[in-house]
Symmetry: C2
Subunit: 733 residues, 2 copies
Amino acid sequence: MAAPPRDVDARTVDLQRPATQIILKTHTEPSNDLAMERRKATFDVQELSYVLNGGKEQLEKKMKLAEMLSNTSWGDKSRRYFLTREEEYVGALKAALGIWEKMKSESLSLSDGALMRTLVDFPGGLELHIGMFIPSILSQGSAEQQAKWMPLCMGLKIIGTYAQTELGHGTFVRGLETTATYDKQTQEFVVHSPTLTATKWWPGGLGKTSTHAIVMARLMLPDGAGGVRDHGPHGFVVQIRAMDSHLPLPGVTIGDIGPKFGFGGVDNGFMSFDHLRIPRDAMLMRFSQVTPEGVYVPPPPSNSKASYATMVFVRADIVKNSGSVLARAVTIATRYAAVRRQTAPGPGQRELQVLDYQNCAATLLPLLASAYALTFMGEDMMTMYKKFEADRDAGRFEGLPELHALSSGLKALCTWAAADGIEECRRTCGGHGYSRLSGLPTLFASYVQNVTWEGDNNVLCLQTARFLIKALAGVQAGKRVDGSAAYLNDAAAELAPGRRCAAAGEACWLRPEVAAAALRHAAARSCATAAETLAAASGGRLVFEGAPWNSNTVDSIRAAKAHCSLVLHATFLDSVARLEAGAGAININTSTAAAVPTSAAAGGGGAGAAGPRLGGAAAGVLRQLAALYALDTLERGGGLAVLLEDGYMSAVQAGALRRAHRGLLAALRPNAVALVDAFAFPDYLLHSALGRQDGDVYRGLLDMARGSPLNDTEEGPAWAEVLRPVLAARSRM
Amino acid sequence: MAAPPRDVDARTVDLQRPATQIILKTHTEPSNDLAMERRKATFDVQELSYVLNGGKEQLEKKMKLAEMLSNTSWGDKSRRYFLTREEEYVGALKAALGIWEKMKSESLSLSDGALMRTLVDFPGGLELHIGMFIPSILSQGSAEQQAKWMPLCMGLKIIGTYAQTELGHGTFVRGLETTATYDKQTQEFVVHSPTLTATKWWPGGLGKTSTHAIVMARLMLPDGAGGVRDHGPHGFVVQIRAMDSHLPLPGVTIGDIGPKFGFGGVDNGFMSFDHLRIPRDAMLMRFSQVTPEGVYVPPPPSNSKASYATMVFVRADIVKNSGSVLARAVTIATRYAAVRRQTAPGPGQRELQVLDYQNCAATLLPLLASAYALTFMGEDMMTMYKKFEADRDAGRFEGLPELHALSSGLKALCTWAAADGIEECRRTCGGHGYSRLSGLPTLFASYVQNVTWEGDNNVLCLQTARFLIKALAGVQAGKRVDGSAAYLNDAAAELAPGRRCAAAGEACWLRPEVAAAALRHAAARSCATAAETLAAASGGRLVFEGAPWNSNTVDSIRAAKAHCSLVLHATFLDSVARLEAGAGAININTSTAAAVPTSAAAGGGGAGAAGPRLGGAAAGVLRQLAALYALDTLERGGGLAVLLEDGYMSAVQAGALRRAHRGLLAALRPNAVALVDAFAFPDYLLHSALGRQDGDVYRGLLDMARGSPLNDTEEGPAWAEVLRPVLAARSRM
């Protein structure tokens, strides 16, 4: 590899006469730009960092772990962007095993393990063993099953995955085709794939890693009349590979499904069964059982409701992650926009920082607001989950429909916001954003599957909308609704013709209650519109299925989005107030799964406790961000058209809203870098030439590019065989 | 590799008793679904295919070439999604050389070569030799320079690239730092990189392939007073590698910049110079020259205007390509949405085709309309380019500002539409859209750089907006404006308080003039708003630079988008009318660069000529698509809020517009597959398991997945070294 270009001083190298008045040296000082930005901060960044990172101790642990991981062979990222798919697969497994080993050898907590996985950021063949196989056995296995399988799982004597989706069947679980038919003679189930579309498809770690799988299959039992009865999908623990040779067992066909957009380290797999026999006790039997005689013992009636716990938990986790991931993208893009300079206003003038162009700020600052909003929402959903657990244990399920609807819509809205936001961040980085060395292409390609898995976002929004339309109809029939949709109780007054927005002038729009009222009105109106179009399509009644429902999904999805935006804004403000009151810290880094309870991190969490507390200056800036979140949602999210159309808002008010929005961009601009610094993502996590904390982006790009495998030789891999025969000319021309 | 799962008949394989009433076999008949869709078409698909593909002969040639290419070693795509970066680089070069050789050996035209490159779809190290190096020598080289370099270029005795952008300098060409300083003693230029940020960065083919480059460097000449004068960036033909060893020449440092989001086959490179000496005649001297004495001979005054030709041409090419690429994505997503079935309305019922969900149609059908709109726009821009050439040759440049502004905005709007549209298509495909085997991740990752290169889209929109705001100010001062912005001549009447939309009822919105009037009003209002906010920021005047301009870019970009949407809709309708009148065919496949002139393809092109003519049925469907394009632009593009805010449209009219939009979705639904079939992309080009013409998507996925390199062994690449040591248990449990 050639020596790098030297960063020589222009004044010493030019031919005979210096030309210092001409050569632009501004681009060699990006670090100065970042230092300048940091001096502009109007609040204590470290204090906010503590609040966002679970306190000082947790933050320091994060930094220490990042340092430790960067020095391991399996945690080193220097070749991360240069790996072949096979290298990614092996590398990701090594990383997961390295973390597993480190947790054992140093007796680290599950929380530390989750934090390490976040930092290493290299999903691989063990993801579903940790995230689905073990939790499923714990939640759905009987005591004997747990006693049998858990030691094998925790000792890594087996590796498991979770095989539900099939080649032809995704979101609609009832459509699964794989069967598990009970054979009373041998007391075995016969697992079988009756068609090509029954082939299991997508499970992570299935392709080449897992020895076992929880297989979702239709339970087929004797119906007592000489036939077979279908009891619908149930889970079975199935060994799929021989332990000594790692070859698929007879009757099992397994393979990798090929490359995806991202997730190269994961061996998502396919699997089909040809009458594979498994013992009766392979069925997960905590809730429903099959007796040796082949008689079905159904789950207790409350079980279907109780099983929502996992779903709510997973969605809370996804929402929390959405905030963290978006925060990473915004950190990279904001730091780079502060040091990247493009276009001089006039001859001899310095080129402007890209962040000083209004359209760049208008992209990045609302995304920054969104990253905070999503982070707070994720924490709040964890609280909802805990409340649900308590209610469930007390046998109370009244709040379940609302929780189900809300968690559905929030999963959708937050993953859309993060996925689209990463790509928007990438585009603000110009050409260099297209380089994988920026970190953003990989982040996007890995993240974007979140809009599809765990329920396609559109399908989830429709579930939220169904609840909202029903709730509104209920209110009109005299029933009250609680929780996030309680505002619908006042829908009649809210949507009465004379209702008007109270904003008088630009400054009014900065008041949280004015913005909240506008979001609330937009949500109520959107919900009413969806109900009206459904009624029109249903011939006056409300038909929540078939053609009427399917011809109303555009308006329904809008209603769900408007509802969830309202919730996000309210949660943003509530969270700031709570943190300012000293309610403890939150933790942006780890999934809720393994997060240290906020009360522990905050040393009790009550007012006056020793933990981090959000200061007034930072709280004020966060409230500006919340205002920007609201106004941007109205301005760009379509709310404005709704509010103008129904007469709630006037043209004058719309103009004032726009000015307030632009004003917030200018007001927040000086704190942009400070607000991303507060997330405190170590360079090791970001692994981005453009997002470096020191701002030395151009040297960063060059340093990383040198490692490209194409640079292993000066001539490149095509010279000898391909190029030399063509380039017949042999001498310097 | 294991045998594939068999597509066995469920009735023959189940344990002892059949369970046919339970097992869902619907998913094994996707081809039937596509056949059913094709029977629904209300127009002659082949006829429209001919019109879109340059006529019957051109269409047949495309299919023949695709067949031929699929049978070459270098054109075969079976491993395309499985290649390492190095394999991609070598493979893309081989493909380019294969096409080059085929063109020579079979005396094929440039147009055929371009078509083959489109079909092979594997950009590599020769792209800039063909697309920039040769054209630059032809357009900017003197006669002697062309005589010297062209035979070397065409004989592939050298390979060239175009090195303009630098590590710290993208869109702003005047910021380039590389210098070429004239040394009168030796009559040489000394090419030098004074700083790290002066490093050339991004040129395709620079990393490992090119032997030569056109280097853009600041021309530094003696100023006659003992100093040096900077004459700004000029182009120089520079040999960068030794012909015998392919090693970089002394004084030149070259390397690959590392992996990008897409474009793995291209060796985008970096390069810096340490006082490299090149002869005086290396400077491209067609327009400006340097004498042996070091005296600068400036270009003729009209040259700067004439040089816009290349820019307009490149933008026309980008717009044309945007339509073609979006059409490919929509083809894949629409066919899959027709065969993919999700969620049965009730027990025992067949799951619904995804395309029958309104929200899916509401995503795909507007994108289909957009693909047609972009395709027609690209053809129209080629006409603009030809008119510009004719005007230029006649010394007429009055239309240039408008052409410059329009082509800027259209490049932006069309590449945004295509890039975002591909990703939207991908998401409608659910989980399988995340697989690279769908073709969509690669298409997106390769395409999305178009929003950045050849002028960042936001920057281009600002150029359009600057023109529009100036034009509006001119109109207010009594000057008229021609071309696409002519509607601004009537701005005073259009924006007068009493102006009202004429739409009365849903059906009205289907009339082209009503939709066009609404788009026109939205464009005029957006332009006026941008002008007003600029005036407010400028203290009453219009200051098109510095802080006032930079604080107004959000509104300016909106104005540019609204203007270009208006142009796209008008061009859509004009094109349908022209094609219906028998004005000949267009060609969606090849870049305008190499397209056969439409008049030739259509055999004369006049009414009644032998070429393809658009029939009335197809024209009617295309007019529905144009209507959907307009209404969707208003509904989702923010136009509605503008029109409601200024009182042009009432709430009642907005409701009618929404119903008309939903009605169009339903009306176009039966022709969805026919409208993508009409693009007639061969399976070879799409290389997508989901976009197959025969609809056999699930078998397609499985067949392609089997080729994944992870499937080379049953145990996978981690077994021996990584997994076996961990999985201590040795026997079947």
